[in-house]
Amino acid sequence: MLNTIDDRLGERLVVPPELMGDTIELVVRPRDLSDVMRTLRDDGDLRFELMADLCGVDTGLTMQVVYHLWSPLCSDWVRVIADGLSREDPRVPSMVHLWPGAEWAEREAYDMFGIEFEGNRDLRRIYMPPDYLAFPLRKDFALADDASRSPGAGIRPMERPVAPADVRAAPAIRTSAGTGALIGPDGERLEVGAGNAVRPAALESGEGAP
């Protein structure tokens, strides 16, 4: 099967197809994706009819869309990675015309990563509320209240090394539910520093501290 795939798609792959365990991995550029997927699905010797999975990946440098396909003729999965999508404006052709089942998976990838699937007629958020603006699975979306990474002086009152009485006096800082930004006591946005440890000016100046 590896040879057949190399024969049919060889020149459109970024690197030669590679067998990793029981998965054949193909890396393609977004502009070749439609051709490659159509060949994989419709070629009589390939017949990858079932889309076993579709997901987005944020590598921190680029965005990827990863497809896993199954064929009754092949004992391995095929993983197609559409690599090299820009993080500012990730765009990739939609696969809904080949696999109608890709529609919700593409909606999910759009919801979580902001990847635009061109040709999907129903590309709206699937999990998050319609007025939500951030893309939560992107690597630059930090969990502001993540206790496991908090250096102790996190933004949660319970993680601050101060007595409970002082916590009540401390200004209320919250995380926006819609954008993930930190909102200060007067409704202003706060800058997120390294490690998510944001100490408001009021705390730094000693007001309310023991």
């Binding site: 999965w77 080949l98 319609p130």
Partner: protein, 407 residues
């Protein structure tokens, strides 16, 4: 239908402008349509109306809201609204280490959580190229198949309940209760087991568990035949499932469906055979397949799969070797960099995970593929043209679990 609303500052984040929210008296949707499909759906023709089903309706099996567009009693179109149970499990998994992911993925498939908690385990083992002790593999298969029977027993009861029959759910729950008590004796928990570990399982089988299992196995074969005798030829049940929600092979494949809905259309796709994992290659069992593709075929497949699971459990009990149940692994587990796709056959179909590791003790990306999500997607094409009352029967026959769909 839609009006331009005033833009105001969001109470949530002051730098964001939002439209003023709609009131409960507004026609749905409160916001302007975002996509072509949404605009098309929310445009009513003469004689049509919207009916809102859920999100608290018992027959949606969880917190699913379905906006139905109906013409009289006939369903013209529908728009499922999801996300009520969304917890961001994938993000949480990326922010905890590999061991945390086991208990985080546990509540996804809350009816059969032995399967969803296997995802981080199987994908980490693939990346580590780890050899799991054979006794541990046999215990895993035993736990999986028991959980499959519990889930299928509940499915059969639920399907009948959605059609108005109350008796089968009592039998279903009795069966399932006996199994979850048995699993509680094995794992310490009735529903969210947190039992599988990277490299094995958390603890060997106990005498109490084996005696309960032997006791139950002596009756299980008879019980499943009783269940089948109660429903297979019940006239109301057959009339409301046979020929309803018919899927053909191409549609099922192209919708990415798996599990009983796909096998009911004649595709013998079962991950246990298609991409063998654990010790399934050593066990003898059949993959029941039907070709009708309707709700009744899906129901019959569940009955047959219970019988196959009992067959597997019987073999596991006879073949289980002695030995350790945990591989030797460092406490701080650093998984080598790489990509792995691990899949297993859950009662609802192919549960899969695509894990990307960067060599640290946390997954870099942990994608969870839930079969209910893809099976539920087909409900739009399955119910179009059917009667309003049949949507429950058709949805129940796909057996969605919202915990997994919403992640």
């Amino acid at each position: 239908m839609t009006t331009d609303r005033e833009q105001v500052r969001s109470l949530d984040d002051p730098e964001i402008m939002v439209q003023t929210p709609g009131t409960i008296f507004d026609a749905i949707p409160p916001l302007t349509p975002r996509t072509e499909r949404e605009a098309e759906f929310y445009d009513l023709s003469e004689g049509q109306m919207f009916v809102n089903l859920g999100p608290q309706h018992p027959s949606t099996h969880g917190v699913l809201r379905v906006v139905l567009k109906i013409d009289g009693e006939k369903i013209v179109d529908l728009d499922p609204v999801m996300g009520y149970l969304h917890r961001g499990v994938e993000k949480i998994c990326e922010n905890g280490d590999w061991h945390h992911a086991i208990s985080n993925t546990d509540p996804l498939e809350y009816v059969a959580s032995m399967f969803s908690e296997a995802l981080p385990v199987l994908s980490a083992e693939r990346l580590l190229e780890l050899q799991v002790p054979r006794r541990a593999e046999y215990i895993r298969v035993l736990a999986w198949e028991l959980n499959r029977v519990a889930s299928h027993a509940l499915f059969i009861g639920w399907l009948a309940l959605d059609l108005g029959g109350i008796t089968p759910i009592l039998y279903g729950f009795a069966e399932r209760d006996e199994i979850v008590e048995m699993l509680a004796s094995l794992t310490g928990q009735r529903l969210l087991f947190n039992y599988l570990r990277i490299g094995g399982v958390n603890g060997d089988v106990s005498h109490d568990f084996l005696s309960r299992l032997g006791d139950w196995m002596s009756r299980a074969g008879v019980r499943v035949n009783d269940q089948a005798a109660l429903m297979n030829e019940n006239e109301i049940f057959v009339n409301r499932t046979k020929g309803l929600g018919v899927l053909d092979r191409e549609t099922a494949l192209h919708y990415g469906m798996s599990g009983p809905p796909l096998r009911a259309t004649g595709v013998p796709y079962d991950v246990r055979r298609a991409h063998p994992y654990s010790v399934y290659p050593e066990l003898e069992f059949d993959i029941p397949v039907r070709t009708d593709g309707d709700s009744y075929a899906r129901y019959l497949l569940h009955i047959e799969e219970i019988k196959q699971s009992l067959r597997i459990i019987d073999q596991v009990l006879h073949q289980m070797p002695d030995g350790p149940v945990m591989a030797k692994l460092p406490r701080l587990l650093r998984v080598p960099p790489g990509r792995a796709f691990a899949a297993l056959e859950s009662p609802r179909g192919q549960y899969a995970a695509y894990a990307v590791s960067d060599g640290s003790d946390q997954p870099f990306r942990f994608r969870i593929h839930d079969p209910s999500f893809f099976n539920l997607q087909a409900v739009r094409s399955l119910t179009r043209g059917h009667l309003l009352a049949d949507i429950m029967a058709i949805m129940a026959s796909l057996d969605p679990v919202m915990g997994g769909i919403d992640k």
